[in-house]
Symmetry: C2
Subunit: 238 residues, 2 copies
């Protein structure tokens, strides 16, 4: 029969179901790292029993999400370099915004459960790069000098996670989220909000490239109408 033996006769709908499980798991684990397989399966439109047809056990499912997420993130960040540590920071933040979904799952799993260590290990290179750039930025006087580099590095991590959460909660457009994440990172790094805006607008590399927009909610207004006098240079959203 055909050329089966080696070529896994993987049925098409089975692959779809596998993806559905992964998607549902990501969605639920993002809110509760201890979500039950029952809930995940149901959310994916399958029975709990069926999940074990795709993953040997709960750990394997989570691990799959974990390593895939780590790969996407590091792939998105690799080869990110810039002389100016401020711009480097903004770049990293912006690229994390392009991978929000995965970043948020990783962040959730990094805090609790037996996966803490593995997530930490997967993100180690990124952490050391951050640490490196922060130290460099402090030495060169481009970042805040009023706290130790380690502390600043960690605050930057948390800051980005927070704003990523908030951005998805508000279902910001791709462009708005892009800008907001950079603003938050630069603020934490010590810049004033005006300095941040100037820096962002003066740096073409930080402009929003909507090649890979996330369908958070479809395109949206450029700027959520914030009552009073608008400031915000509004940059060419192109």
């Amino acid at each position: 029969m055909t050329q089966a033996t080696l070529a896994r006769t993987l049925r098409r709908d089975a692959a779809e179901n596998r993806e559905a499980i992964l998607a549902a798991a990501k969605a639920l684990l993002r809110r509760d790292p201890d979500a039950s397989l029952e809930a995940i399966a149901q959310s994916a439109g399958l029975s709990r029993r069926a999940v074990y047809g795709h993953f040997a056990n709960r750990d394997e499912l989570v691990s799959e999400i974990l390593t895939a997420g780590a790969e996407r993130i590091t792939a998105a960040l690799v080869a990110t370099a810039h002389d100016d540590p401020r711009i480097w920071l903004a770049l990293i933040a912006a690229r994390l915004w392009d991978e929000v979904e995965d970043v948020r799952v990783m962040a959730q799993l990094a805090v609790r459960g037996p996966f803490r260590d593995r997530v930490g290990a997967a993100l180690a290179p990124l952490r050391s790069a951050l640490r490196e750039n922060v130290g460099c930025g402090i030495r060169e006087g481009m970042l805040r000098r009023d706290m130790p580099a380690d502390t600043l590095a960690r605050l930057l991590e948390d800051s980005v996670i927070s704003v990523l959460d908030e951005a998805t909660r508000r279902e910001l457009s791709s462009a708005d989220g892009h800008r907001l994440v950079m603003l938050a990172a630069l603020s934490t790094a010590g810049l004033s909000w005006r300095e941040s805006a100037v820096l962002i607008d003066a740096t073409p590399a930080l402009a929003h490239d909507d090649a890979h927009q996330h369908p958070t909610h479809a395109d949206y207004q450029q700027h959520p109408t914030h009552g009073a006098a608008h400031q915000h240079p509004t940059q060419a959203a192109r």
Copy 2:
């Protein structure tokens, strides 16, 4: 039959054990909101069975911690007012630092479990006060104008929680933590790190008052010489 019937004959060591349970629960719940009663009891030096002599069930134990924490926090923040929204923010942040332990437990319980709503309700007045001051600060041009007030308010919340976590992790002195929390809040609010330092140093109300120090690690240097130019003392951990 002394005069008992009404006067609760509450034994002394029993009260101590009750406190030990609460303390242990706070310590464990801060790291894992689902910590088992077994673990809590053991950490308090008691058997699991004994816990049920003090609390009817798990929920009641957690609720006790919750309401006590909410009371301490709101008590510490009540009657905090200032014309300058920036200073108001720094004041709130600093006073939260004085209640770090409770704040961190609350923050942990606010995210997960069936207590989310109750914590949210308990902190509602604080949230609305924050929202109020942020809106006012934006209108007056003292806070950043580049994002909606709601977003800024939430980022401020997360920012303070993050730095509180980091400060305890590093076992900062009372004075260092005091300053760090204010710096983080002001940064998120849009000030540059130099502006923040100037504002803090120019405002007597924001000076560190070590009347109520938390014994995070024993008294430490007062550290008045923060200087705008040189490195932060950082303390050598232990």
